[in-house]
């Protein structure tokens, strides 16, 4: 029994270690992935605050965007991390893993934990850079809670990515997923606008979107305001993470090389 636990931990750790090594080797890609949200923050923030007012007549505060952009980075990099299994398959490394005497479930879990680590690191970087740019966070404990939120939502999206990757058989399919899934998820998450006064059809889509709860929870912990009660956001995020881990693990187990 103890041996089995050890092997499982070792499998998870090995897969995590690989993701870390690859992450470290792709420093330029990380800088590239941080550029987009930072541009959003600087240009969209400046543009919004000079032309729009929020309810009550106050000018738009660019700090409103920060939690949304952190959520966006976590979403992008987690989905990428999950879907990168397609690359592992194309470049053959997947066979090396699948032929090893280890459980596929723990392989998938290790991959997920590794991917989540990289997305949380990127989320923290955005959070940090945003604070250098003058955005103020409520409290240190809020920041720590926000990191936990990044982790939980990251697990959910990486599980979704692994599940999709197990069903898609080409990198063309991957492009489709990225454009038809991730962009709408970001735009429908309340990352850029408050979700309290949307038309009915839009409200429905926004509330069906798991990222909405991630962004709302981040906004609650970082800025102290949210439309969805924090307890509900956290419940939805945990349920999403659990469901996706299960789904991802199950589909990966059935995946053919």
């Amino acid at each position: 029994m103890k041996k089995a636990v050890n092997r499982a931990l070792q499998t998870v750790y090995t897969m995590w270690l690989r993701e870390m090594l690859r992450f470290w080797r792709s420093k330029s890609r990380i800088i590239g992935s941080l550029a987009t949200p930072l541009f959003f923050l600087v240009f969209l923030g400046a543009g919004f605050s000079s032309s729009f007012q929020v309810e009550g007549g106050r000018p738009f505060d660019p700090s409103y965007l920060a939690p949304g952009l952190i959520g966006m980075v976590v979403l992008f990099s987690s989905m990428m991390g999950g879907v990168s299994i397609i690359w592992d398959r194309e470049f053959g490394f997947l066979k090396e893993i699948l032929i090893a005497p280890v459980s596929r479930f723990f392989v998938a879990l290790g991959k997920a934990v590794g991917g989540v680590t990289t997305s949380v690191i990127q989320g923290i970087l955005i959070m940090f850079i945003a604070s250098l740019m003058g955005i103020e966070y409520k409290s240190l404990s809020g920041v720590i809670a926000a990191i936990a939120v990044m982790f939980v939502s990251g697990i959910g999206f990486i599980g979704l990515g692994i599940a999709l990757a197990s069903m898609i058989d080409s990198h063309e399919g991957f492009q489709m997923v990225m454009s038809f899934l991730t962009m709408p998820l970001v735009l429908l998450s309340g990352a850029f606008f408050p979700i309290s006064k949307l038309p009915g059809w839009l409200t429905l889509l926004v509330y069906a979107n798991p990222l909405t709860y991630g962004v709302e929870a981040l906004r609650y912990f970082l800025l102290g305001e949210s439309i969805i009660p924090i307890f509900r956001s956290i419940t939805v995020l945990l349920a999403f993470a659990l469901a996706m881990t299960f789904l991802g693990g199950k589909l990966f187990g059935k995946m053919k090389v």
Partner: protein
């Protein structure tokens, strides 16, 4: 345990195609065993089943005493596998690839360190251990992959087309490594190949596979001896006269007809040098004109031809196209 590998009528069907048809083979521990056949013959499918990647449709197989279906995880612990296409992580260094492999197979830190040095030395990659795999040549990647397959001291090592797409010099090198590790490490090796010279040079026993069936199985020498002497190839001016010529030789009983292939007639005879004049006079008496004659010792190519009526090399063109395609798709 009597055999390192033992299969019993193992079969794999894909929809309506039978890729492997009731193959039963036994490989002894320490043996260097070859599966020879053209592309699509079922070699890769067979070792995929033996290495637990594919499930047999029917039949049984045991590897190192463990059932490939019921004890797949035990089988995996005891085998090493080198796939046709690379399965290295090309963003990591050679050493990192070996280290991750060691971890997946449960080797502790000290063992990994020691073993990494050993296997790198075996394939002469010690100096490139810390280079990123992307910078490796095709031959170096294959060597690293062989080294990785050996990391966890497998009892059985599967090599799927170990020298496909490599230049002759690298190929010779890899042959030496394979021989060395079979002798020095005592590993049972099963390799697939469609290169005659490779099977001939390396393997102690060869199973010739075609369309999912084993058509012949023996040592390379025995396979060639069974053809009964030297091979004489006659090139006819008029290919239509092939069957007529074959009939004449049949009737005179002087030569055993192997096969008719393109415009050529292959026959095997004892003491070929002395038989050529007789064979030629028989042809000219019948009014069949012969453009060229050649004589050589039989090769495994002739053995394959004898058993299947085709030469393995007929399929080469399409295979080269495929390799080209694979390389292109990897660049994307």
């Amino acid at each position: 345990m009597l055999y390192a590998i033992e299969t019993e009528e193992i079969t794999k069907r894909f929809d309506d195609i039978v890729a492997v048809n009731k193959i039963s083979i036994s490989v002894k521990p320490g043996e260097l065993f070859g599966l020879l056949g053209p592309n699509g013959a079922g070699k890769t499918t067979l070792i995929s089943m033996l290495s637990t990647i594919a499930e047999p449709t029917s039949g049984k197989a045991k590897v190192w005493g463990f059932d490939v279906e019921k004890e797949s995880s035990k089988v995996r612990e005891n085998i090493g596998m080198v796939f046709q296409d690379t399965t290295l992580d090309d963003r990591l260094t050679g050493k990192e690839n070996l280290d991750l492999h060691g971890r997946l197979y449960g080797l502790d830190g000290k063992t990994r360190k020691k073993r990494i040095e050993e296997v790198l030395a075996l394939v002469e990659l010690t100096e490139r251990a810390d280079s990123i795999v992307r910078t490796f040549s095709g031959g170096m990647m294959r060597r690293l992959e062989i080294a990785r397959g050996l990391m966890h001291h497998p009892h059985v090592l599967f090599l799927d087309e170990p020298t496909l797409g490599l230049d002759p010099q690298t190929r010779n090198h890899i042959w030496e490594y394979i021989k060395t590790l079979n002798k020095v490490e005592g590993v049972t090796i099963v390799l697939t190949t469609h290169y005659m010279e490779e099977a001939d040079h390396l393997c102690e026993r060869i199973a010739i596979i075609d369309h999912g069936d084993i058509v012949a199985l023996d040592t390379p020498e025995a396979l060639k001896d069974r053809l009964g002497g030297d091979v004489i190839i006659l090139q006819l001016e008029n290919p239509d006269e092939k069957s007529k010529l074959c009939e004449i030789y049949d009737k005179n009983g002087c030569a055993k007809i192997v096969s008719r292939h393109n415009g050529e007639v292959f026959i095997t005879v004892k003491n070929g040098e002395h038989q050529i004049p007789h064979i030629l006079s028989l042809a000219s008496n019948a009014g069949i004109s012969i453009l060229a004659v050649s004589l050589r010792k039989p090769t495994l190519d002739d053995v394959f031809l004898h058993h299947t009526g085709r030469a393995i090399r007929d399929k080469r063109a399409s295979e080269i196209e495929q390799v080209g395609f694979k390389i292109r798709s990897r660049r994307k």
